[in-house]
């Protein structure tokens, strides 16, 4: 979806230009760009921008989430029984219910005014960044694959593969501090890359669909992890649970802001990764090829790009970044390897990449937003008792709305940039049709 979506602005001017040669054959007509608005108004430019669309999707999703909270709140529903008599009671209770929940969500993810010291007040923000770290890595992985036309929905399995390697190196090996961490990071990237590479190779060699391979490999990875956590190499001595011993101190990401916060240097690495991917995709030859394969594999093949090799490269790259998310979890946030190490980051990463429209920095901000939802959701559940699953609902609604711009435009009555141009078009052929058709005969 998203690859085609990011292309959406391109076809519109392209078919405006496409008519140029035909026109050139006939008598001189108005140039193809003449029908464009001389200068779009500021209001038009703002309301038709994709950023506004994303914001509109966010608002719509929050409204639906709010409705769910209201309708399931017994306090509100009890007031609905006398809605006709005193409607204000219902609205007051509904507003209280929703605003408290969303305020708790905000206070749990950004700024907690109840904290006594500055660090306590900003603690939620650092939690958001901590949770966002694996989301950004995995989101980048998915975004890279989307840009090249592949659906890597196997980030979950690749995170697990990365986490297994990171856990093994971090627990079993004994090395000096910096080197140990470096090997953990490289090993996790390699682990994820291998897991993703399996998909790439199988797709390139046999033509099997990557979505199915990814789903199956997710489960294989999970079961492999659960099996390994029962073996002596991984299982914590004296424990029957699927949990490993602590990762050695030498293999840990240092805490970024001291030991009272969980935020670690993995976040900085994630920012570096975003910048690197941004350069790779937009500025390098490899990135150009990948985008070409994603935009139109046949055209890419015709112009000499090896498409099947491209699939393998993309999946290796994508898997590698997902593997880094595993490293961030094992050596940064959790500091142990557990059966639940990947949580649902691999699936959330899909929604993160979609919300970020598959661009690296878009993915970064989307990762922060979903990290905030996650961190705030936990706080919300403890303070107002609103179930954390509402976060899943809001997240998935955001993505559904983002994915269907016509729906959001219809809800908010936003102008459609493609349609504005299309509406103008019929007028011109109608006026110039006799002359051109006459000339061609």
């Amino acid at each position: 979806m998203s690859p085609s979506q990011s292309q959406q602005p391109v076809p519109a001017p392209a078919d405006g230009l496409g008519s140029a040669p035909e026109d050139g054959a006939g008598p001189p007509v108005t140039p193809p760009w003449a029908d464009r608005p001389a200068k779009p108004t500021l209001a038009y430019r703002i309301t038709s921008s994709p950023l506004v669309l994303s914001a509109a999707a966010l608002i719509a999703a929050l409204v639906v989430g709010g409705l769910l909270i209201v309708l399931t709140d017994p306090l509100v529903t009890s007031k609905m029984y006398y809605f006709i008599a005193r409607p204000s009671d219902t609205f007051v209770a509904a507003w209280k219910s929703v605003s408290e929940a969303y305020l708790a969500l905000f206070e749990g993810s950004v700024y907690n005014p109840a904290g006594e010291t500055a660090s306590q007040r900003l603690y939620p923000l650092t939690e958001t960044l901590t949770i966002a770290t694996p989301l950004i890595f995995a989101g980048l992985a998915v975004a890279v694959s989307f840009r090249s036309g592949l659906f890597n929905i196997g980030a979950q399995g690749q995170i697990i593969a990365g986490a297994i390697v990171a856990g093994y190196i971090g627990i079993a090996w004994e090395l000096p501090a910096a080197l140990h961490l470096l090997l953990v990071v490289v090993g996790a990237a390699l682990g994820g890359a291998v897991w993703g590479g399996i998909v790439g190779v199988l797709k390139a060699k046999t033509g099997a669909h990557e979505v199915i391979l990814c789903i199956m490999l997710n489960y294989v990875a999970l079961n492999l992890l659960l099996y390994l956590l029962t073996t002596p190499a991984f299982q914590r001595p004296g424990s029957a649970n699927p949990i490993s011993p602590q990762v050695s101190d030498t293999a840990l990401f240092p805490r970024l802001l001291g030991d009272s916060f969980r935020l670690h240097w993995g976040f900085v690495l994630a920012v570096v990764a975003v910048a690197a991917i941004s350069w790779l995709v937009n500025r390098s030859t490899v990135g150009f090829r990948l985008r070409a394969v994603g935009a139109n594999p046949r055209a890419a093949a015709t112009s000499g790009i090896n498409v099947t090799a491209g699939y393998i490269v993309v999946m290796l790259l994508s898997g590698g970044f997902a593997g880094l998310a595993g490293a961030a979890q094992v050596s940064g946030t959790e500091r142990v390897l557990t059966g639940d190490i990947a949580g649902s980051f691999g699936f959330d990463a899909i929604t993160v990449a979609l919300l970020g429209r598959s661009t690296p920095w878009g993915t970064f901000w989307a990762g922060l937003l979903f990290g905030a939802f996650r961190a705030g959701g936990v706080a919300m559940q403890t303070t107002t008792g609103t179930n954390i699953n509402i976060v899943l609902v809001v997240q998935s609604l955001i993505v559904l709305f983002i994915a269907a711009p016509p729906l959001v435009r219809a809800i908010f009555r936003l102008p459609d940039p493609a349609k504005a141009r299309r509406r103008k078009k019929p007028r011109r052929p109608a006026a110039s049709a006799p002359s051109t058709s006459g000339a061609s005969r």
């Binding site: 979806m1 294989v220 099996y227 979609l354 609902v393 269907a404």
Partner: protein
Amino acid sequence: MSTQTLEPSRSAGAAPAPVVRNWKKAVIFSVLGLVALVLCGVNAADTTVVLRLSNPGDVVELGDLSLPASTTGWVLSVLMLAIAVLAIGLTAQGRGVSGWLSAVFWIAFILAMLVWAVGHATGNSLSLPGLLGGSLALSIPLIFGSMSGLLCERSGVVNIAIEGQLLFGAFAAALVGTLAGSAWIGLLAAVLGGALVALILAAFSIRYLVNQVIVGVVVNVLVSGLTGFLYSTVLQRDTSLLNAPPRLPSFAIPVLSEIPVIGRVLFDQSVLVYLMYAVVAVLWFALGRTRWGLRTRAVGEHPQAADTLGVKVNRLRFLNVLLGGAVAGMGGAFFTLVSVSSFTNDMTAGQGYIALAALIFGRWRPLGALCAALLFGFATNLQSVLSLLGTTVPSQFLTMLPYLVTIAAVTGLVGRSRGPAASGQPYVKE
């Protein structure tokens, strides 16, 4: 799994086409035969495996079947190797390996592995009807789910949302079934609930042309979040009033249920199981032999051609996706109206994805998907039965089996499984 060699064409006057020999099957048979020889023959446990063929109280009571693990292993693996040699001979002659031969091979293989695994377990006695009955129970949602996938994919819409349809079906059946106090109304609600989830899939993928895989994945998250939220905020407030649905009745079909071993397993079951037989049979017939089926397949393979001939492509797709959702909803009802009697968070636990795997492994055909789902159910049940018996095989590897088999199927290692050509591509009329 029938990779057939091409028959020489008999077109008049033309030179006979070159014979294409496909060695894949012969090679796989030989390798598996040797593996079985080493595992089940050489490495067999020195015990006797007892297979109980009937439960006390059956109409026809059969005695127990005692199989010495070692001898059985040797006999079966030699049989398998004989079939492998036969397959090599047939392939060398340019003839295909028949389906019956493969079936015998696979049955021998499964039996040999079963005897080997039970032989190495601490308990050596296994009830065959129990094993099969448990397998069937585990495969019911898989079968409904894969039929849902079949309806969607054969008409060109990828259905990753089977998981969500099952889950919402289970939720709707539990809630409405309890409120109405009737399992039948619960079943109806499950059907409507599944169709509602399918409506989201259809609206976004057909109307708004959003990528079908993405809609599917996101819908699964949405349903998981929504049911999880409603479960903890509404259902748990008063469990007996909101989350205690009555069960669907079950009855025995008079004569058929008296067949030894499989009679009770297949024909003394819940109504939902009989409904499953009906759904599979109807789909098998309708897809291959009715106008609707022909059009569905045409729309899934080549929508342009179908449109040219006057089929309303998107309308048919919409209809089929909704039907698929309804079928998956029935599978969801199995969770809350038959197997467990209340809804819990994420109770489908990835079954929708295994159903998708079954559909692919069954080559997008009703009977194939049925067999694949039964096989996956068997593998899952075998895993739990063996872990009860205390086997040495790690349960995680048995759990992995369906997924590995599916990967082998889509990559063409065990027969090429190729989906409908237009599956996943939205159709825009030009």
